[in-house]
């Protein structure tokens, strides 16, 4: 049993992802950015060390083509620069441009607003419980998905 419950969860997850993406898109529109680009920028803002594309693939749990495409677009729009790594010429080092640094506050505020909306009326304790449970369900899927040869990328990084 509990199938109905799980189905509900699926619907809620769907709604959360869609709504938050819409909100991010709305907030970033004036900057000429989409949510896929925003997600990557937001991540880059907080990285201290040199970042290669592969790092983004790992950290954001995206496919290589998704990252490749978003970075290409970000470079075209002048927000990042991709330099060949001199010590490993297969890899690209991703650098933020001044233009990107200038919009950082705006980008972060868009995401912070989304987070604060999500957390409305939810206590810190509940969030912790939620995350614990959520991570277990998520892990169930990751394991099952790599057990069957669920083709591509799995996040069995932990």
């Amino acid at each position: 049993m509990a199938e109905t419950g799980i189905k509900d969860i699926w619907n809620y997850a769907h709604n959360i992802i869609r709504s938050s993406r819409q909100m991010v898109n709305e907030g970033l529109r004036s900057l000429g950015l989409g949510s896929s680009e925003g997600n990557i920028l937001l991540h880059l803002f907080t990285q201290e060390h040199e970042v290669r594309q592969e790092d983004i693939v790992e950290d954001l749990d995206l496919s290589k083509p998704a990252v490749s495409r978003a970075l290409k677009s970000l470079e075209l729009k002048g927000f990042v620069k991709r330099n060949k790594d001199s010590s490993d010429r297969r890899a690209s080092r991703i650098l933020l441009t001044d233009k990107a640094v200038q919009i950082r506050p705006k980008v972060e505020s868009v995401y912070n607003e989304v987070y604060s909306i999500a957390a409305q009326g939810v206590s810190g304790e509940e969030v912790a419980f939620f995350i614990n449970l959520f991570s277990r369900v998520s892990d169930n899927f990751s394991q099952a998905c790599s057990a069957m040869k669920c083709t591509g990328r799995q996040n069995n990084d932990q």
Copy 2:
């Protein structure tokens, strides 16, 4: 605060949706069906009354074009028939074919497996808590999303 937690939730939701979709796709591949078609078939299997496309849009919280496209494909593959409603000739009545009825057990078993994987090691009590919290977060987004004119469809149906 709690932003980090919310970000984690976002990632988990992402992973769950992707993994479960991959699993469904994997399970339905031999039937020549994708997850979008499977989701709709699964829904149709349990409907007692006449179903119009608009009902599917409501119930599964999808856009009209998404439903239109999936049903077109299902009709092409011989799993559903769309008849013009005689009393409202704008509407289509969706009917399952024998071919669809024959694959029903297989389709349902694919989804049941996904549900059982999700629920591994999670108690019924936890599921209830989870759903409660999840629905509140989801509602936060729905409301915020319709407050700002987050353009399109909102599920403010409740």
